[in-house]
């Protein structure tokens, strides 16, 4: 290995270590007992109370249900958005119809208003519909933005016309074309979008906080709030960290598993 490669490796390893340290520290805390957490100097090697803490965190907040809720929201938002935006992009690129321009701008304008900005009114709408504290309220309002449509539109515009024309000559209708030809071509984009939307749906904080009231409907990122030692509770940071570890594992796992498509898809988005 030559010198510049070695330096590169050193730098990258250093970056990885610095980035990973807080997480490692959190993991260590999640294996300690209460006394170890509250005593100084802080210990940096894992201790032996892992099972106890994780079991504690699990039972105290109903972690099973919380993780299930997060999974439902993440998957529903990801899949729902992908399906909806794929269909819309297909229609916009491959059809001419009256009102197409209006439809395009209506969809596009949603990019300019992230949820936090219209949050109070969205809550009013959802409460009028009776969707407060329900899975519908948690998932459907998050499907309203146009990132996916935009991504697919950009991609479809790069596909040569000849493909569609050939399909038509073969007697295939538009839906057949979509299913047999366009969809297989789109897998990279779909995968990238899935990762982004899954992480987004899993980690979203503000909307689930507003739209749920009962502990059974909360998603994991806000459901663990009661474990964070604040006031008159014992400083059980070990249990809090155990909960944090459980909550961050699924989205991180998704990223690690699909990171090739993720980066590729993001770079495509930027273009």
């Amino acid at each position: 290995m030559d010198r510049s490669s070695a330096i590169t490796h050193v730098i990258l390893v250093a970056a990885v270590v610095v980035l990973a340290f807080p997480l490692y520290y959190a993991f260590v805390i999640s294996t300690q007992s209460l006394d170890e957490v509250t005593s100084l100097p802080p210990k940096l090697a894992p201790s032996t109370h892992l099972v106890q803490n994780y079991a504690d965190a699990w039972s105290r907040v109903g972690m099973g249900r919380l993780l299930l809720n997060s999974a439902i929201v993440a998957l529903a938002v990801a899949l729902g958005k992908i399906v909806i935006s794929l269909l819309s992009a297909f229609a916009i690129v491959y059809f001419d119809f009256r009102g197409k321009r209006l439809v395009f701008w209506m969809i596009f304008v949603t990019l300019m208003l992230p949820v936090p900005v219209r949050i109070v009114s969205t809550y009013q709408v959802v409460s009028v519909l009776g969707w407060v504290d329900t899975y519908w309220g948690l998932t459907v309002p998050l499907m309203a933005s146009a990132t996916g449509t935009f991504l697919f539109r950009q991609y479809y515009r790069t596909i040569p016309d000849s493909l569609a024309e050939a399909a038509q000559l073969d007697g295939a209708g538009p839906l057949r074309f979509l299913w047999s030809i366009l969809l297989p071509l789109s897998t990279a984009n779909i995968a990238a979008l899935f990762v982004i939307l899954f992480v987004y749906g899993w980690n979203d904080y503000l909307w689930p906080l507003m739209v749920t009231n009962s502990q059974e409907m909360r998603t994991a990122v806000i459901g663990i709030d009661s474990l964070i030692p604040r006031t008159s509770q014992l400083p059980e940071w070990n249990v809090a960290m155990a909960a944090a570890m459980m909550v961050l594992l699924p989205p991180v796992a998704v990223i690690v598993a699909m990171q090739r498509w993720f980066v590729k898809g993001l770079i495509e988005t930027e273009k």
Binding site: A20, V83, L113, V140
Partner: protein, 293 residues
């Protein structure tokens, strides 16, 4: 370039219907409702709705605390963005050699993107904990200064800046690495043949060639810091101490949800809307210019 190919009287409408339906119900309706509500003084239970025109806006724009919040939001977002991009770019440049295992490194650096800002905040909260945290402990050997972020605004701000930058870091780095890899080696070789040193090469060639990536990351990080750090602030500082970490989106939520002043909160949302529209319009205009089909 694709042109409309298929003809069908009803299919396109059916295809866009789901998205349009959701967009109308969950975007346009709330957006207009926000606009409408911002012109009213509303009681929590909905029993009183008094039209006051621009009253909420004049109250906002006449409140120095609001401008402080604007400054805090902008300052915080800029620091997170600039710091995040600068460190990522620096590291990416230093690491930009054709080495084996780049993909492995990329994975190891990208994963914090999957951590929710609120969870990142909780972890950093503990790292910074005045009684048990490892950072104050180490610092206590160096100085007697009490890093009590309950009372010291700058400590609280530093805490959330660090948590936010940490979370976004891998993402920024991955993009810069990819961007750097895309620069043809021949361009840089030609420059060095011309006698340009590494620093000169960087500023004259690399950085300008990276500007689309930089611009993209800049808008993305700014948006992230402006909005998505809500979770971070809600979980860690709740806008305090004083109003040191009270960013615009947190304020708007707090006034609406804790304070139950719905019209006032809606007015804040409207102003945020205008800010985002400006930001997105600029980005779209710039992005479309740079892209050729």
């Amino acid at each position: 370039m694709s042109r409309a190919v298929f003809r069908n009287p009803w299919l396109p409408y059916a295809l866009v219907a789901p998205q349009i339906a959701i967009t109308i119900v969950f975007f346009f309706w709330p957006a207009f409702d926000s606009l409408r509500l911002s012109l009213y003084r509303a009681s929590p239970f909905g029993d009183r709705l008094i039209f006051i025109g621009g009253g909420n806006f004049t109250r906002l724009l006449g409140d120095p605390a609001y401008f402080r919040s604007v400054a805090t939001s902008l300052g915080f977002s800029l620091v997170v963005t600039v710091a995040g991009l600068a460190v990522a770019l620096l590291l990416a440049s230093l690491a930009n050699a054709r080495i084996r295992g780049l993909a492995v490194y990329r994975t190891l650096l990208l994963w914090p993107y999957g951590i929710a800002p609120a969870v990142a905040g909780v972890i950093w909260l503990f790292v910074f904990h005045p009684s048990f945290g490892v950072l104050p402990y180490l610092l206590s050997f160096v100085t007697d200064y009490q890093f009590n972020w309950f009372l010291k605004g700058w400590v609280a701000l530093t805490l959330i800046v660090i948590a936010a930058v940490w979370k976004q870091f891998g993402y920024n780095l991955a993009f810069y690495l990819a961007g750097l890899q895309a620069i043809p080696g021949s361009v840089l070789e030609a420059a060095s043949v011309d006698g340009a040193g590494p620093v000169r090469r960087f500023f004259a060639i690399t950085f300008p060639l990276l500007s689309p990536v930089t611009f993209f990351l800049f808008t993305l990080n700014m948006t992230f810091a402006f909005f998505e750090t809500f979770g971070l602030i809600h979980a860690v500082t709740q806008g305090g101490p004083g109003d040191a970490t009270s960013i615009l989106v947190y304020r708007a939520w707090k006034d609406g949800f804790d304070g139950l002043q719905l019209g006032y909160s809606a007015a804040q949302s409207v102003i945020l809307m205008l800010l985002v529209i400006a930001l997105t319009a600029v980005q779209f205009r710039y992005a479309e210019k740079k892209v050729t089909y």
